[in-house]
Symmetry: C3
Subunit: 159 residues, 3 copies
Amino acid sequence: MMKADFLVNKKNTKGLLFIILFRVSQFFTKNLILKIIGLPIRVFYKFFVEWVLGIEIPDTTCVGEGFKVLHGQGLVVNNNALIGKYVTLRHNTTIGNSKSGGKSPVIGDNVVVGANTVIIGEINIGENSIVGAGSVVIKDVPPNSIVVGNPARVVKKNN
Amino acid sequence: MMKADFLVNKKNTKGLLFIILFRVSQFFTKNLILKIIGLPIRVFYKFFVEWVLGIEIPDTTCVGEGFKVLHGQGLVVNNNALIGKYVTLRHNTTIGNSKSGGKSPVIGDNVVVGANTVIIGEINIGENSIVGAGSVVIKDVPPNSIVVGNPARVVKKNN
Amino acid sequence: MMKADFLVNKKNTKGLLFIILFRVSQFFTKNLILKIIGLPIRVFYKFFVEWVLGIEIPDTTCVGEGFKVLHGQGLVVNNNALIGKYVTLRHNTTIGNSKSGGKSPVIGDNVVVGANTVIIGEINIGENSIVGAGSVVIKDVPPNSIVVGNPARVVKKNN
């Protein structure tokens, strides 16, 4: 019973399951042999994670260790985006290009991104920065900053 | 045939199903005995409502009577938020803390919240107020007001 | 194997499946006989597309040819909205009325709408215009324009 209660009460069950499935599916993208063996797993990832859960981060996306996703529904990340280490993303968020075929953002280490945000274009989000909920980020964000608003501007910078 | 057509045409079928499942699941959180008996229902609620439908309102959240959810996908409510009576929420909306472990909003009676909104922090949304679609609310909203924008500001106040 | 790999790598598999299901379900709304025959298909559309995928565009919505949906989770379109030809919509987007029972937008031909946008009220989005990601559009947009921001304003107009 304790175990089952854990299933219900644990706040980030979905996020933990996502990370496991993402990393396993990502493992099977490393070379052709793995791609052949892992095809059922990659199809399951695409269907269950991207379609049912609505967390659309392709398993070919380059994501550093310590990656954390909270809630996650409506999260769409372009597979050309680069995600650093210990980054936290939430739900209803878009990280991608600002025009078809354009480049995608580079998210630095330890960046925390709030819910309902848009981060688009060939931009850098500096390490340790925080992107406030509801922000629309279309320009570079310096390291150690907090940005908010539409378009997002720096409201606090820690040196 | 009429009954089945009703399934297709009725605009808020999903919202009605959500409310029924939420209230039933909530009932089984009242004490330990109910939690044991109701575990399968609570697990079903978590999986079907929070994961498949993408409506993430924990069954332990305090929500007044007359609660209404429209569409609902991408709706995430912190279980410490307090939702008054006859509140309407929509989709792509976040109601939660502004920092990890921080306090969550109190939503007054008869408040109507538009789609794609963010309401975060230790704030009060006064009764009978309307939060316009796309708003990011980070400060108290007086009763009987209409707020819009990012950050949200009062555009109309009825005395 | 190539075929299966296609399932995983093809970027817009979900969007293509959506369009097929939408058009098939829409076909079965044309008259009473078709509605009776097509009921299982329409119920499947509602459950799979609107509930599981989170793409809520009723099959009775008037949508021109060449319609394209990218990602699509959290996309909610009112069935009274009019969508022109070759329109592209993305995810976390709301197109609807600004008050209950109010009129919905008319989206012109070749309009491209970014992610996380809100387009509400009795407004026209002129043909060939682009609505930037994260915009909240509550006024008419002239043809051949680019609009961004909350509330959205014209940032570029091509004559």
